[in-house]
């Protein structure tokens, strides 16, 4: 208990750091994921090929390797001196985007073909059928996998702590270097991660219940 109370500011910084990393990279991965999913289902062959290549490559790349690319290659391509937080959320966001893209694509796949055909035959325009018929149904199917992807993202954000970012892993490292009992540290860090992942799954369960309809 003493370790937690004496270093409450460290734990707070780590907790907020993990939250910031997760939140920012979740945003990037959602935007990228939707864009790439758009590419993968588009009628334009080169964009489809690009989407497929993106997903296949990133799903088979270790996240730590992406971090290495972000920290050693990206500064060479763009400009040197980007801060480590931006690089870390880029690596996390790009990695997770490939999984989110697949979740969205399979969500669109769950909407029955007849739904869109019925929408068109009663005279809806493309935008109307997408907005009123296809997307609401796809969203419901996408939510559960999205929740588990965000939980995975939270856990993956620990790697950023190994690359000069302040987060819970970084705090674990600092405190154990200071010679505190690793059992106690491990306990509190675990608890902190459990709080975050429970919050995520709670929010998503709430959303699912909100959007639920009888089918």
């Amino acid at each position: 208990m003493n370790v937690l109370l004496d270093h409450l500011d460290l734990f707070r910084d780590g907790f907020l750091g993990t939250l910031a990393l997760t939140g920012a990279s979740a945003l990037i991965s959602l935007v990228l994921g939707i864009l790439i999913a758009g590419c993968r289902v588009s009628p334009v062959p080169p964009l489809r090929a690009f989407g497929t290549a993106w997903v296949t490559l990133l799903r088979n790349t270790p996240l730590t390797l992406l971090f290495l690319v972000a920290f050693f290659v990206v500064p060479q391509v763009l400009f040197p001196g980007i801060n480590s937080f931006v690089l870390a959320i880029c690596a996390l966001g790009v990695y997770t985007s490939s999984f989110i893209c697949e979740a969205i694509r399979s969500g669109i796949g769950t909407v029955a073909l007849g739904q869109a055909e019925a929408a068109r035959s009663i005279g809806m325009t493309f935008m109307q059928s997408l907005r009123i018929v296809v997307l609401p149904q796809a969203t419901r199917a996408v939510l559960p996998p999205l929740s588990s992807l965000l939980i995975a993202l939270t856990k993956n954000s620990a790697i950023a702590g190994g690359f000069n970012n302040v987060d819970l892993f970084n705090i674990q490292k600092t405190l154990s270097n200071d010679g505190f009992n690793i059992l106690v540290i491990f306990f509190w860090i675990t608890l902190a991660y459990l709080i975050i992942t429970f919050a995520i799954s709670g929010i998503f369960r709430l959303l699912e219940r909100r959007l639920e309809v009888a089918r």
Binding site: V41, S42, P43, V44, P46, L47, F50, L57, N60, T61, P62, L63, T64, L65, L68, V69, F72, V73, Q76, V77, E102, I108, V111, A112, L113, Q115, A116, F126, L130, V134, P144, P145, S148, I151, A152, T154, K155, N156, S157, A158, I159, G161, G162, L168, F169, Q172, K173, S176, N181, I182, L183, F186, I189, T190, Y193, L194, T197, F198, I200, S201
Partner: protein, 298 residues
């Protein structure tokens, strides 16, 4: 392209528009790639001297050693996690409540902790703390980086694989177990000869996909300074200078290609098994060749 929910089969006008999009789309993708290559080239990363390092036998040996270390950790962790997952899954499905609670608790806790946190704690010596401070046993346990990595990977992946196996056992039709009990088989016999074989067969694609995750996660050894493939890449790049520059980009490209090739090979095996299983007429539908979803449920 077959019919899609999102758009109709294209008519002549839409086809013409698609051709325009195709041209612009390809130009955009190629343009981005060209900018990346041009920037790297202007930094001198495609200088032949930079790539010449891979002709040295010493560096080739380093890469080979790193690859072998990665594969060794993967083989050990994969094997141990599969064995341990059977124990955990059977424990969680057990009729003895305390055993079931214990296994459920273990699975839920270690599935929710980031793998890196577990590996780091093992590396720092959490086992030794448990051994001497909590249980007050004589002697001490020291864990070197390799075993910290193997143990961490084993614990985490066994928890995930156990959930996969449990889903597999639950997916076996109820009549199978009932028929076995009616024949007079004992609980152990039903589990080992009827349920588990069918569960493993149905879940093989998912199990192999999780093995791909295990392979990818061996790269966490980088952070605890275990000289596996990724750490080797860093060591090579930081110990070699070419005209005062470190060859990070060439080594990362080469090592990255090795990783992607390994993982692609393993995940295409999972996809092949899934397709092959769907053709079969055994009535067992194979699981999707996807990584098992993660959920926080205690």
């Amino acid at each position: 392209m077959s019919a899609s929910v999102l758009y109709d089969a294209p008519g002549p006008k839409a086809r013409a528009r698609n051709v325009v999009y195709t041209v612009f789309g390809s130009l955009l993708v190629l343009g981005i790639l060209a900018v990346i290559v041009w920037r790297l080239d202007s930094q001198g990363q495609f200088n032949p001297k930079m790539w010449d390092i891979f002709n040295y036998s010493g560096i080739r040996q380093n890469i080979l050693d790193g690859l072998l270390a990665t594969l060794k950790v993967f083989a050990l962790a994969g094997l141990f996690s599969l064995l341990f997952s059977v124990v955990l899954a059977v424990g969680r499905l057990s009729d003895h409540k305390p055993v079931s609670w214990l296994c459920t608790g273990f699975i839920e806790v270690f599935r929710s902790v980031p793998l890196l946190i577990t590996i780091f704690a093992l590396w720092i010596g959490i086992l030794d703390n448990l051994w001497s401070d909590v249980f007050h046993l004589p002697g001490s346990i020291s864990v070197n980086p390799m075993w910290a990595l193997v143990l961490g990977l084993t614990i985490y992946n066994a928890c995930v694989q156990a959930e996969v196996l449990r889903a597999g056992v639950n997916s076996v039709p109820k009549g199978q177990a009932e028929a076995a009990y009616a024949l007079g088989m004992r609980k152990t016999q039903v589990m080992t000869t009827i349920l588990l074989p069918q569960a493993i067969r149905a879940m093989l694609p998912s199990i192999i996909s999780q093995l791909v995750v295990t392979l990818k996660d061996t790269s966490l050894g980088y952070i605890i300074l275990f000289p596996e493939l990724l750490q080797t890449a860093r060591l090579i790049s930081s110990n070699t200078t070419i005209d005062g520059d470190y060859p990070y980009v060439p080594t990362i490209i080469v090592i990255g290609a090795i990783y992607i090739a390994l993982c692609l090979a393993l995940s295409s095996l999972a996809n092949w098994i899934e397709r092959r299983g769907r053709r079969g007429k055994t009535g067992i539908t194979p699981a999707k060749a996807e990584e098992p979803a993660e959920e926080a449920t205690v």
